[in-house]
Structure formats: C-alpha cells, structure tokens
C-alpha cells in the first residue's frame, strides 16, 4: 500500500497544489535565509537574510490560514511584519554606528563592541 502511494505521488504532487507545496516552498526559503545568516560576513546582507526567513514564516502562516480556514494566521502575519520593520530599523542603526567607527560593516568588527 505504501509503495503504491509513493508510486502515484509525483503526478499528483505536480498537478494538485495544496498546503504541502506552500510549506515546502516556505521551508526552502527559510533554509536559504539561514544559510545566508551563517555564511555571509556582511552585516547588512545578514539582516537581509533574516528578513528572508521572516518572509518564509509569513508564507507558511498565510498558507495554514487559507487551508485551515482560520484568520488568526493572517493577524499573526501583521504582527510579524511590524516586528520585522522594527528589527530592521534598530539593526540598521547599529550597523550605521559600527560603520561610523570602523569604516566597514564586516561582522568581524562587531566583536570589538564588547567592553
């Protein structure tokens, strides 16, 4: 039974879009953003990757809200968007402070912040 399910899965998966498709897309975007945070050394690009992760979470919130018929997911997306905007403002202010002192936004200069 299990083999049969796997066998007819592909055409079904391509021709019928549902919740799993959006969840897989959302997790791919989240993982891309996480790789950016781990691998990039530029503080601004790291913050862009964080925005990418937040967007991926928003996508899965909206997908769940659509397919479960609950509006709470969309309300939560509002909150996430506001927090993301606030985080971007504070983070960029920190980056500006670092740049004013070191003329560089590479993440290795952030360790000089510790007293």
């Amino acid at each position: 039974m299990r083999a049969r399910k796997v066998a007819h899965m592909p055409s079904n998966f391509i021709l019928e879009v549902g919740l799993p498709h959006y969840l897989v897309l959302s997790s791919l975007l989240f993982v891309t953003g996480m790789a950016g945070v781990l691998l990039r050394r530029n503080a601004i690009v790291m913050m862009m990757s964080i925005e990418l992760m937040l967007n991926a979470v928003n996508l899965s919130f909206v997908a769940f809200s659509r397919y479960l018929g609950l509006l709470e997911g969309q309300v939560m997306v509002f909150f996430v968007m506001t927090i993301a905007a606030a985080e971007a403002a504070v983070g960029l202010a920190l980056v500006v402070a670092i740049f004013k002192r070191f003329k560089e936004v590479n993440i290795r200069f952030f360790e000089h912040l510790k007293g």
């Binding site: 399910k5 959006y22 897309l25 691998l39 967007n55 909206v62 809200s65 905007a85 202010a93 590479n106």
Partner: protein, 176 residues
C-alpha cells in the same frame, strides 16, 4: 495543467531562485534587489492564497519601506564587491552548509511524510475562506486582537526613538 497550478509553480521557482540570489550575490546592492524581487513574488503568492490585503501590505511595508531603508543604508556606505563576502574557514563552512542541509531535509521530509493527511484536509478549503478575507480580517484585528495592535503601535514609537539614538551614538564605551 490548470492556470492556478501553473501560476504557483512559476512563482515558486522564481521565488526560490531570487532567494538564493540574495545569499549568493557578492555585491550587497544586487542582494538587496533580489530581496525586493523575493518580497514582490511572496506578495503574489499571498494573492494566490486569497490574502489580497496582506499582499498589499507586503508590497507597501516590505518591498517599499524596509527595502528603501536597506538600500539607503547601502548607499550611505558605498560598498564595493567584498573580498570576504563569505565565511572563510573551510571546515566550519562545511559544518554550516551541512547543518542547513540537515534542517532542510528534516523539515521537507516531515512535510512529505504527512503530505497525504495534509492534502486530504487541504484540497477542500472552507467556504468562508474562498472569497476576499479583508473584511473579516479587519473585524478580527480590531476586536479580538486590539490590545496587541495597540502594543505594536507603542513598540514602533519606541523603536523609532531608539533607532535615532543608536545611529547618533559615537561607539559606546570605546568613544574617544
């Protein structure tokens, strides 16, 4: 293949490509432009999920305000292509890529294992969500979640003041 399905795959593939370009471009300005494209595409995906108002907010807040903030700061800095754009250690880099791959495998594997039940419950969405949801969203946001909404307003005010204070600081304990 119906238009809805084609639209989803088109948007999904473009979103993944532009998301990868955010991480892989060595010039930060190109990263910012790819991020703006990703935001617009995610807004389009919101439309395919019947969240039209959220799609508009996504365009205005993310693709508009936040991206302008990023690009303005990038222009302040006048950054060129970076020499150390990526982390340098080969072994630690391999560990990071490996951990990211394992996370992706775990998440997508668990979605795949539960896909049959998810599809069963998801192929027939509820009738209330089939039309435009903006009116219901406004009702629930200003009744049940009013306190959180007002708290967010206070948070934004505090953050605006704090961002100005941080940007004007001269480097904390290292100030000369």
């Amino acid at each position: 293949m119906s238009p809805d399905v084609f639209l989803f795959w088109f948007l999904a593939i473009l979103t993944v490509i532009s998301g990868l370009m955010v991480v892989l471009m060595t010039n930060p300005v190109f990263s910012a432009l790819s991020l703006a494209m990703t935001m617009v595409l995610i807004g389009a995906l919101f439309v395919t999920l019947n969240a039209t108002f959220l799609a508009g907010v996504q365009l205005i807040v993310y693709a508009g305000a936040v991206m302008v903030l990023f690009v303005m700061v990038l222009m302040l800095f006048d950054l060129k292509n970076e020499i150390y754009a990526f982390t340098r250690g080969k072994i630690s880099g391999a560990f990071k890529v490996g951990s990211v791959g394992i996370l992706a495998g775990l998440v997508i594997g668990s979605i795949g294992l539960t896909a049959s039940t998810l599809l069963q419950s998801s192929t027939a969405p509820l009738v209330s969500m089939s039309g435009d949801t903006t009116k219901d969203l406004g009702k629930i946001l200003f009744s049940q979640y009013l306190l959180g909404f007002e708290a967010l307003g206070a948070l934004l005010l505090i953050v605006a003041v704090g961002a100005v204070a941080l940007a004007r600081s001269k480097g904390g304990t290292h100030a000369k």
